[in-house]
Symmetry: C6
Subunit: 78 residues, 6 copies
């Protein structure tokens, strides 16, 4: 059982959700305690810059997921 | 219904708007409360560094969208 | 009429200017008021770290513009 | 003997773990003392922004590892 | 006359110097006054984090220059 | 004589060391005085966030070096 069986997703939106998941897993690796994470979450969700930093991490992971999915472009038959 | 049906856009400017949207959606995922986001917005829109950080996130997402659209280059007929 | 008709530029220097423009447009989207932007500008132009952050955003956008222009490499005839 | 024999991993999850390892090795290079690192760890694991920054580094390294593994896409037989 | 006629350089080291130049030009665009830049420089050259941020910008620009030069790989004759 | 004759390395680990070197050279360019750098080093090696920022720069340079080495993938004989 794995939390990351593949980088392939059906849709761009699913890919975006996967990018969010990757961002959170990296936090989890550094801070494995769920209660601590929850407590910190309530702080930084009230800070504009913290939210922007978090958005940057998602953007970086979304680059990876989007590339993995060849940007969900329809296959070119030619 | 999805907020992100595709990364394809007709023009570079539309692609830039999509990059802005992606940046905001990642914030929304972390802070789902619209009132809080609105309140924070008025703060960071008055801080030069906050605006620069936000611009960095858009730039990162624009890389993804631009690549997905092959940079809106005219198709090569060869 | 659009402020971003294309990512194509004639020269690397024009591409760099476009990267600067993209960086500023992302700020404009978040802070549409020109007077506020002007006021903030005078602050952060006096802060070394703010300037470095701004330079990072330009660098990120320049990656996109340079890729879009295939790095302005002379076309290979082979 | 090397801590980094290859960027190839069997699965995306292993690749993510390698990205975490790369992020930590870069810290180790700058601060070789394990006790100091352990002490600092307990600080920043309690700071939301520190965790987000760490997650950003993992995301950047994961881009590299994922590209190295061609995103763990099944080989296309055509 | 242009300060950026090409992204092509003869060697990786020249490419690195070009990345430094690109980083500085982006600062110059935001703060055109040379005296102010010189004054700020003496500050941030004394701050470890400022130097790290500056190094990050150079790294980002070096990615662009290295890609433009196809990483200075010897041409493959096949 | 050059400190950067090539981006090619024999192994991923050597590539990682080169990424560290590139990160340090960019600092050296901004702060050429070795004593100052040494003094600052002892500060930031005690700060978790400084170490994370430094790790981010290495990650960015490692992307470049890894791409230059085509990720040290074994050559495909086909």
């Amino acid at each position: 059982m794995t939390w990351l069986p593949t980088l392939k997703t059906d849709t761009p939106e699913d890919g975006f959700q996967l990018a969010v998941k990757l961002s959170r897993m990296a936090v989890k690796v550094t801070q494995p305690d769920a209660d601590t994470r929850e407590r910190l979450r309530s702080d930084y969700a009230e800070s504009a810059d913290s939210l922007t930093l978090a958005s940057h991490v998602v953007a970086t992971n979304f680059q990876t997921v989007a590339a993995a999915n060849e940007y969900w472009r329809p296959k070119n038959p030619d």
